[in-house]
């Protein structure tokens, strides 16, 4: 078991490293390099007369910025010109990035020079509670809804919920979130909830808590609504199938109510396949936080990633991809472990 675990951990780390490396190297191959951002900023703000300077001095400035950001080094251990291959040894950008990343230092943002780890940690303080509460809420709701939907003679409103859920399943998150925003946080329509995260500094703790609750209702609701069908529909189908198996019939014959049969007897058997579905939630939640945080102007990690990508701030982008990939792979591993704990038949044989 330990050997298997170590093997899987190594595999996960390897895949995450490979993805981050691919993103890192491909980001350095782009035609206008990332130093463009820094240069244009510097020339716009600090030196208003920069546009009148000669091309030569601009090239000098560019070279200086490249050296400061460490971009003057070759990208990889070997590079190739038209005819020849060159070996650069350890003095290359990839080696520096990798060795720093192994020590836990993911570099500094090109935009404001802050350490990437600080930026990520700050933004995760908003995103993690949002995503975790959305997952918990969606799981609870899905369980209740599926237990209800699995009752066999389907009433009209069961069918209504079912078709609503299958419609939601295919709707992209931004459409759901945008309609919620336009319906409930619109000064022209129902202005019930605040949409943007701006508040005056001088309010008390409880007011602040209330404020954040108000702000997070709509993002949370849109995340839950999008994740809900993915969880509910398979669980309802599983429960319905389990309810036709012999043991459920026996339980019925003993005189148990339908709800009891579903909850006590069918549910434990339906939970195992549900576990994989629950792990697959993570990608849609992570992708969902990007959309939701951009739309509702929350300072979370999804927005950080989207803005960094739009601004070519590659240290942040690479770190974000590394983080997301690690989280995804670890959650897959965790799901496997939980499955093995629940069902000993699935344990690895070694």
């Amino acid at each position: 078991m330990l050997k298997w675990l170590l093997g899987r951990l190594g595999q996960a780390a390897g895949i995450a490293w490979l993805i981050a490396s691919i993103v890192f190297i491909s980001s350095r191959q782009l035609p206008d390099g990332p130093e463009q951002l820094v240069i244009s900023d510097a020339s716009d703000l600090a030196r208003p007369g920069a546009s009148t300077r000669t091309a030569a001095s601009q090239a000098v400035a560019r070279q200086a910025v490249r050296e400061r950001l460490g971009l003057a080094l070759p990208v990889f251990y070997v590079t190739r010109t038209a005819r020849h291959w060159y070996w650069h040894g350890t003095a290359n950008q990839y080696h520096h990035w990798l060795s720093a990343a192994l020590r836990g230092d993911l570099g500094r943002s090109y935009r404001d020079g802050q350490p990437v780890t600080t930026l990520l940690a700050q933004s995760l303080r908003y995103t993690l509670p949002l995503a975790a509460s959305a997952a918990a809420l969606a799981a609870g709701l899905a369980l209740a809804l599926a237990l209800h939907l699995a009752r066999t003679p389907a009433s009209w409103w069961q069918r209504l919920i079912f078709s609503l859920l299958s419609g939601l399943q295919i709707t992209p998150l931004f459409l759901v979130a945008l309609s919620l925003l336009l319906l409930f946080a619109n000064p022209e329509f129902l202005n019930l909830l605040p949409a943007a995260s701006q508040h005056s500094a001088a309010i008390g703790t409880w007011q602040l808590v209330g404020y954040w609750l108000g702000v997070s209702v709509l993002p949370l609701l849109s995340l839950v609504l999008v994740v809900l069908p993915e969880l509910t529909l398979p669980l309802a189908a599983l429960l319905r199938r389990e309810a036709t198996v012999g043991y459920a019939l026996t339980a019925r014959a003993k005189g148990l109510a339908t709800q009891q049969v579903l909850r006590r007897h069918a549910l434990p058997n339906a939970v195992l396949p549900l576990l994989t579905t629950f792990t697959d939630l993570l990608p849609s939640l992570v992708a969902g936080t990007v959309v939701v945080e951009v739309l509702f102007a929350l300072p979370g990690s999804g927005r950080l990633l989207a803005e960094a990508a739009a601004a070519h701030d590659y240290p942040v982008v690479v770190a974000g991809v590394l983080f997301v990939a690690m989280a995804r792979l670890l959650s897959l591993l965790l799901a496997d472990i939980v499955q093995y704990v629940i069902d000993p038949r699935l344990r690895p044989t070694t």
Binding site: I19, F174, L175, L178, L182, V294, V317, V321
Partner: protein, 336 residues
């Protein structure tokens, strides 16, 4: 598709199909449609005006957005962009995914044995294209491999199943590994990261969408192929001495492709969702590119202009629901 149980389900499917046909027709004919206004040029006299009809005002049939652009023209151009991006991406992804999944499921890790000379050819080709140093040395090694493998291979064909100088290509592991690699990061994140550079051309964007979409099709076809491979008719075909490539192409592949009829519309729906999300976030396109997602994003600048959000939102929702309907109908008809 025509054998659906109730008249209502049949009507719904026909409605869905006709909307999709209308959409594709609009998208393909967009450059020749007689529209009163161009999509990209703003009409500054009528900024964020509700729908007006000719006798009472200008011919902004669906209103204008906060920048004064005609919503109807934006819808048509957005439909064009969507059709031209997602349809080729879906076809490419389905094709690539089918080929990858079908080969991986059929040959697995051990079944596909190649003569060792093939490794020599591939290595030589790679060596030459990358212009690595030491070409003379490689040539010697590769030709030795050829000389070593060819006579033995011929002898093996005559004799009993002895095939000493071949190697097994671990197709299944290779393809599954690639799928895991692509699946480790959510598709939207990968798309945002990859499309964030200089705005990609629509061909590149379609390729990117296809790159992100093929693993699903591959996984589906692979699992179906694993089932097909165990069926008795494959063993019968092998026993009758058919070449393995022919069995794969003529006998196994058509069965393995059956679930694709229901899968392709859903995959298209996912791609449409991804494309409009990208447009909404404004990533991977130039500032003057118009898409449904981009139209929906402009409503944030003038929340009172409900008509800007309503038309593209309804069109998008209708498209996605139609695709889902078609998928459900074709899964029912292939199940029978």
């Amino acid at each position: 598709m025509l054998l659906l149980p109730t008249p209502r389900a049949r009507l719904a499917t026909w409605l869905a199909l006709s909307w999709l046909t209308f959409l594709i027709g609009t998208g393909l004919l967009a450059p020749w449609l007689p529209l009163p206004y161009a999509a990209a040029t703003p009409d500054l006299l009528y900024v964020a005006t509700p729908p007006t009809w000719p006798p009472d005002g200008p011919a902004h049939y669906l209103g204008t957005d906060a920048l004064g652009r005609d919503v109807l023209a934006g819808l048509v151009v957005g439909a064009q962009r969507m059709v031209l991006l997602t349809l080729p991406a879906m076809l490419l992804a389905t094709l690539a995914g089918t080929l990858a999944g079908a080969t991986a499921g059929f040959w697995g890790n051990r079944q596909l044995r190649l003569p060792i000379a093939v490794a020599g050819w591939v290595a030589t080709a790679l060596w030459w294209t990358l212009a690595l140093p030491g070409q003379i040395f490689l040539l010697v090694v590769a030709s030795t491999l050829q000389l070593l493998s060819l006579p033995r291979w011929r002898a093996a064909a005559r004799a009993t199943p002895l095939v000493p100088y071949t190697f097994a290509l671990p197709l299944d592991s290779l393809i599954l590994g690639t799928i895991t690699l692509l699946g480790a990061v959510p598709r939207l994140i990968l798309l945002v990261v990859l499309a964030a550079g200089p705005p990609p051309t629509s061909l590149q964007l379609a390729g990117l969408l296809a790159l992100l979409a093929w693993p699903e099709a591959a996984r589906l076809v692979r699992s179906q192929m694993l089932w097909v491979r165990a069926q008795p008719f494959i063993a019968a075909a092998q026993a009758s001495g058919l070449p393995i490539g022919r069995i794969w192409w003529h006998h196994a592949l058509p069965h393995a492709c059956r679930p694709l009829w229901a899968f392709a519309p859903l995959s298209l729906a996912t791609l449409v969702g991804l494309e409009s999300t990208l447009g909404f976030l404004g990533i991977g396109m130039g500032p003057d590119t118009i898409s449904w997602g981009g139209l929906l994003a402009t409503v944030r600048q003038s929340p009172a202009a409900w008509w800007v959000a309503l038309a593209p939102g309804l069109a998008l929702l209708l498209t996605l629901l139609s695709l889902q309907k078609v998928a459900a109908a074709s899964s029912k008809s292939t199940a029978e």
